[in-house]
C-alpha cells in the first residue's frame, strides 16, 4: 500500500472528566473507503470534529499528506482545514442551507475558488470576464455532481424542501464540490430506505474509483459498511477495539461483544 493520506496518532479528546476518544491511532489511504464504526456514544463523531477543526484535540497528531504537502490538522482553523488541507465533511444531522436552492448550496461550496476569481468581489462587481468564466465552471462542476447524485431535477429547488434522502445526497454533493482529498461522511445512510442506501453505496464506490480520494465513513447500517468498506476501525468508549478488513471484523469476538453486550454468565 502507498503512503497513507491521513495518519491519526495518539488522538485523545477529553471533555472535563469524560474521555470521549482515548489514544486512538489509525491510518486512511487514498482511493479507499475506511469505515469508523462503534456503538452509540463511542466517540466517532468526536473523531470527525477533531479532524475538521471543530474540536481542538487534547493530545495527538493528525497528519494529512497529499501531493507532496503535509498538513498538521490539529493546529489549523476549521475553515483552513477545508480550504487548504482539503478535508470535506457532512454532518450527522444534515446541515444544508435550507432557504437556498440545491445549486446555490453547491456554488457556496466553491466559495474560495470563486472569491479568488472575483478578486475578492471587486472584479466581480464590475463584471470581469474572468469571473464570469469561473462562475460558469463552478456551475458545470455543480451540474456534474447533481447529475452523479441523481439530483439534477432538483437543481432550482430550495434545499429545505427536498425529500430527506435527497438532502443527504445533496450534502455529499456539496462536500464534493470543495474538491476534497479526504471526504468524511457522518452516517450518510441514516434514515434512508434500502433502495436509497443501495444507491448511496454505488455513489460512494463511484466517487472512490473516479476521484481517487480517501473516504472516511461513520455508519451504523452494516449492509453499507460491510458492502463497501475496504478497511474498518471499531471504537468502543473512545478506544480502538479492533481494526481490519470487513471479513475479519465480522468474525471478531470483541466487536460482537461490544455490539451485543457481555454474555449473561460472564457479567
Amino acid at each position: 500500500m502507498s503512503a497513507p493520506l491521513l495518519t491519526v496518532e495518539h488522538l485523545s479528546m477529553r471533555f472535563g472528566g469524560l474521555v470521549a476518544v482515548g489514544d486512538l491511532s489509525f491510518t486512511a489511504p487514498s482511493r479507499a473507503i475506511t469505515a469508523v464504526i462503534g456503538p452509540n456514544g463511542a466517540g466517532k463523531t468526536t473523531v470527525f470534529n477533531c479532524l475538521t477543526g471543530f474540536y481542538r484535540p487534547s493530545v495527538g497528531r493528525l497528519t494529512l499528506a497529499h501531493a507532496g504537502q503535509t498538513h498538521f490538522l490539529e493546529r489549523m482553523e476549521g475553515f483552513d482545514i477545508a480550504r487548504k488541507a482539503r478535508v470535506a465533511r457532512t454532518f450527522q444531522n444534515i446541515r444544508l442551507f435550507p432557504n437556498m436552492t440545491a445549486l446555490e448550496n453547491l456554488i457556496v461550496a466553491q466559495h474560495d475558488t470563486l472569491m479568488r476569481a472575483s478578486l475578492w468581489s471587486i472584479g466581480g462587481l464590475f463584471g470581469l470576464a474572468g469571473y464570469r468564466q469561473a462562475e460558469r465552471q463552478a456551475v458545470d462542476r455543480a451540474r456534474h455532481w447533481l447529475d452523479q447524485a441523481e439530483l439534477l431535477e432538483f437543481a432550482d429547488v430550495e434545499a429545505g424542501a427536498l425529500p430527506y434522502g435527497a438532502q443527504r445526497k445533496l450534502e455529499i454533493a456539496r462536500a464534493l464540490c470543495t474538491q476534497p482529498v479526504l471526504l468524511c461522511l457522518d452516517e450518510p445512510a441514516a434514515g434512508l430506505n434500502p433502495r436509497e442506501s443501495a444507491d448511496l453505496n454505488r455513489l460512494l464506490l463511484a466517487i472512490r474509483d473516479a476521484e481517487g480520494i480517501g473516504i472516511l465513513l461513520i455508519e451504523h447500517d452494516m449492509s453499507v459498511v460491510m458492502g463497501i468498506s475496504d478497511h474498518i476501525v471499531v471504537l468502543d468508549y473512545g478506544q480502538k477495539i479492533a481494526e481490519g478488513p470487513p471479513a475479519a471484523i465480522r468474525a471478531d469476538a470483541s466487536v460482537i461483544r461490544a455490539y451485543l453486550g457481555e454474555p449473561e454468565d460472564s457479567a
Partner: protein, 400 residues
C-alpha cells in the same frame, strides 16, 4: 387570557392621567379607556379564536407568487418623475426625501440583518459617524461634500470593522445587545466631547453641497456661480430641495444596485449561507469572521453615506438625531419589509415613515394606527410583507 395581559399593561399606562387642577398636579383615573382597550383586545382575540386562527386574506397570499422585477422599475420610475408632477410641492418633495433616507438606511442595514443574519441594534452609530465625519471634515478642513462623502463612507466602514472585530464571535441576542451598547456609546461620546463635536449643541452651519461647483443660493459668494445663473433661470428655493431629492435618490439606487450585485457574487452568497448555517460554512472553507466583517463594513458604509447626506441636508447635526429609536425604526423597516427583500424595504419605509408624515394632522391617533398596522402585519405576514427570496442563480436559466 390576552385580555388579562392587556389589562395588566393598560392599567398603569393609560389608566392614569395628569390633571391640572387648582391645587397643582394630581393623578386622575381613566377607567373607561382601560375598559375600551381591554374589551377590544378581548373581542379581537375571540374572533381570531372563533375563526380558527387568523383568516387568510387572498390579496396577501397573492403577494407571494408575484414577480417583483417590474414593481421595482415602476417604483424607480415614479421616484424619478415625482418632483416634476404637477401636485409636487416643496412639502411633498421634502417628505419623499425623508422616506428615501430611510429607504437607503434600510437597504444598508438589510445587508447586515437581512443577508448576513446579524442582528444589529446599533446601526444608527454608523449613520452618526457618517454625519459627523462630513460635518467635522467640512468644519476643520473645509472639504466639499463630494470629497467628504466617500471619506464618510470609509470612516463608517472603518468603525464597522472596529466594532465587528470583538463582537462578531457573539451570536444572536448577545450580538444585538453589544451593538445596541455601541450605538449608545457613539452618541454619548458625541454628546460629551464638547471641544471636538460641540457636545449637545452639535455642529451648525455645515456647508451645503454644490452641483458640479454651482451653489444653490440667491446671491452666491464671491467667485462662485449659482445654479440658477448657470442655467439662466430665475432663482427658486425649490431647486435645492429637488437637488437634494435627486441626490439621495441616486445614493439609494447606488446602494440597491451594489447590494443586488453583491448578492450574486460569492461574497453575497456566503453572507446568506452564513445566515443559514455558520457551522456548515466553516466546513466548506468559508472564514466566518472576515465574511461577517465584510457585511458589517459594507452596511456601515451605506449608513455613512446616508449620514453625510443627512448632515448636508439639515446643515446641522446634534447627538439628538442619533438615538436608539432611529436604529429601531430602521430595523423595523427591514423586518417588516421581509428580511432580505429590497422592494420590501421600500414598501415598509413608505408605510412607516411616509404614512405617519402625511397623517400628521391626525396627531393623536397617528401612533395608534401605526401600532394597529404593525399588529396586522405581524398577524397576516409574520415573515414580513415581501418575504419571497429570489435565487441568485438558476440552472434552468443557464445556457449550456
Amino acid at each position: 387570557m390576552a385580555a388579562l395581559v392587556a389589562l395588566g399593561l393598560a392599567f398603569p399606562l393609560v389608566g392614569h392621567r395628569l390633571e391640572d387642577s387648582v391645587n397643582g398636579l394630581s393623578l386622575g383615573y381613566r377607567f373607561d379607556w382601560v375598559a375600551i382597550g381591554v374589551a377590544a383586545v378581548f373581542f379581537g382575540r375571540l374572533t381570531i379564536g372563533l375563526l380558527g386562527g387568523v383568516p387568510r386574506i387572498a390579496a396577501f397570499d397573492r403577494l407571494k407568487g408575484l414577480r417583483m422585477d417590474w414593481l421595482g422599475w415602476v417604483l424607480a420610475a415614479i421616484a424619478i418623475a415625482l418632483p416634476f408632477l404637477p401636485f409636487a410641492d416643496r412639502n411633498l418633495i421634502d417628505k419623499a426625501t425623508l422616506v428615501l433616507i430611510y429607504v437607503m438606511l434600510g437597504w444598508g442595514l438589510n445587508v447586515v440583518v437581512g443577508l448576513a443574519g446579524l442582528l444589529d441594534l446599533g446601526y444608527v452609530a454608523f449613520y452618526a459617524v457618517g454625519a459627523y465625519s462630513y460635518a467635522l471634515l467640512s468644519l476643520y478642513f473645509d472639504l466639499s461634500f463630494w470629497v467628504c462623502l466617500p471619506l464618510a463612507g470609509l470612516f463608517a466602514a472603518g468603525f464597522g470593522v472596529l466594532l465587528g472585530f470583538p463582537v462578531l464571535r457573539l451570536r444572536g441576542d448577545y450580538l444585538a445587545i453589544v451593538t445596541l451598547g455601541f450605538g449608545e456609546i457613539i452618541r454619548v461620546i458625541l454628546l460629551n466631547w464638547q471641544s471636538f463635536t460641540g457636545g449637545p449643541n452639535g455642529i451648525t452651519s455645515i456647508a451645503r453641497p454644490s452641483f458640479f461647483g454651482l451653489v444653490f443660493s440667491a446671491d452666491p459668494p464671491e467667485g462662485r456661480m449659482a445654479f440658477h445663473q448657470a442655467l439662466g433661470i430665475d432663482y427658486s428655493s425649490l431647486h435645492r430641495v429637488m437637488f437634494l431629492y435627486f441626490l439621495i435618490l441616486a445614493l439609494a439606487l447606488l446602494t440597491n444596485f451594489v447590494t443586488l450585485r453583491l448578492r450574486r457574487l460569492p461574497i453575497g452568497r456566503a453572507w446568506e449561507a452564513l445566515r443559514e448555517d455558520e457551522i456548515a460554512c466553516r466546513a466548506l472553507g468559508i472564514n466566518p469572521t472576515t465574511t461577517k466583517l465584510s457585511a458589517f463594513a459594507i452596511g456601515a458604509m451605506f449608513g455613512g453615506f446616508a449620514g453625510s447626506f443627512f448632515a448636508t441636508r439639515q446643515g446641522f447635526v446634534s447627538p439628538e438625531s442619533f438615538t436608539f429609536i432611529e436604529s429601531a425604526i430602521v430595523l423595523a423597516i427591514v423586518v417588516l419589509g421581509g428580511m432580505g427583500s429590497q422592494i420590501g424595504v421600500v414598501v415598509a419605509a413608505l408605510l412607516l415613515i411616509g404614512l405617519p408624515e402625511w397623517f400628521r394632522d391626525l396627531q393623536l391617533y397617528r401612533m395608534l394606527v401605526f401600532g394597529l398596522a404593525m399588529v396586522a402585519i405581524m398577524l397576516w405576514r409574520p415573515r414580513g410583507l415581501l418575504s419571497h427570496r429570489d435565487p441568485t442563480i438558476l440552472l434552468s436559466e443557464m445556457k449550456r
